[in-house]
């Protein structure tokens, strides 16, 4: 961590990438937009949000791509063929 040297001060001030660096801010989500006027953080924020979106969809689609398990397909077909009331 120490070897990151001069970048540290900037990062500590502008991002929450470092644990506990700006704890009060990270504990209050509503406080974050207030720092959005730092264009660097806004960009870093968008970068992180884009990655979160990608991971979220990748995780979700991993299950979606498994398709319909046979026992659930059978269940739907069986119930569909029964007389509806």
């Amino acid at each position: 961590m120490g070897e990151r040297g001069k970048d540290d001060a900037m990062k500590h001030r502008k991002t929450s990438l470092e644990p506990a660096a700006d704890k009060p801010e990270s504990e209050d989500p509503m406080a974050r937009p207030a720092t959005g006027h730092h264009r660097g953080e806004a960009r870093l924020g968008r970068e992180i949000q884009a990655r979160i979106g990608q991971q979220l969809r990748a995780m979700y689609n991993d299950v979606v791509n498994q398709g319909v398990p046979p026992h659930l397909a059978d269940l739907v077909r069986r119930l569909s063929d029964q007389d509806q009331e």
Partner: protein, 183 residues
């Protein structure tokens, strides 16, 4: 009279995303499949209350979400800390929660309050509009927006802290991004 095959196919087509939603709610593949099965039984028993031409996925997701919530309420007396239980499930049965590459992300997701987690999944992964997500959760559109925003902020903090180097761009790029001088 048998069920209209077109309706049946709409139900079947929604099953994969119902499963993905279910596992993101309860964090356990086996329980998720039970939840989906229960949802399908309930839905097909009450298929008359589905209006053809309306949003089948939203209808099924609403049923699943309500089933999950009523089960959750029932179990609240048994288990004091439901969120802790979700996290515990991830720890003790990692093999039931999907591929290992998503473990870290799931673990972070598990730390979110349930309201925020479901809102984020519905909008960010299932692709529902804010309006549909609000209808599914039975709350105002503004509430969904605020839950999604809080979920994203919290996830960013959790993931950035746990794995700066895995998650973020490389160090040089980060410095440029953090510096903000060169856009």
């Amino acid at each position: 009279m048998k069920l209209d095959p077109a309706i049946r196919d709409q139900v079947l087509a929604t099953v994969p995303s119902l499963r993905a939603f279910a596992i993101s709610l309860c964090g356990n593949m086996d329980r998720a499949d039970d939840l989906v099965q229960e949802t399908l039984l309930r839905a097909l028993a009450h298929i008359d209350s589905f209006e053809p031409g309306t949003n089948m996925p939203a209808w099924l997701f609403t049923i699943l979400r309500n089933l999950f919530r009523s089960e959750y309420r029932k179990r609240r007396r048994e288990v004091e800390d439901a969120e802790g239980r979700y996290a515990e499930t991830l720890k003790s049965h990692p093999e039931q929660t999907g591929r290992v590459e998503f473990q870290e992300f799931r673990a972070a997701l598990a730390k979110l309050p349930a309201d925020q987690r479901e809102a984020l999944i519905l909008v960010g992964a299932s692709g529902f509009s804010y309006d549909d997500a609000a209808a599914i959760c039975g709350c105002a559109v503004g509430t969904i927006k605020s839950r999604v925003n809080r979920a994203r902020t919290r996830l960013a903090d959790l993931l950035a802290i746990d794995s700066v180097d895995d998650f973020g761009p490389d160090r040089a790029t980060r410095a440029v991004l953090a510096g903000g001088g060169r856009n």
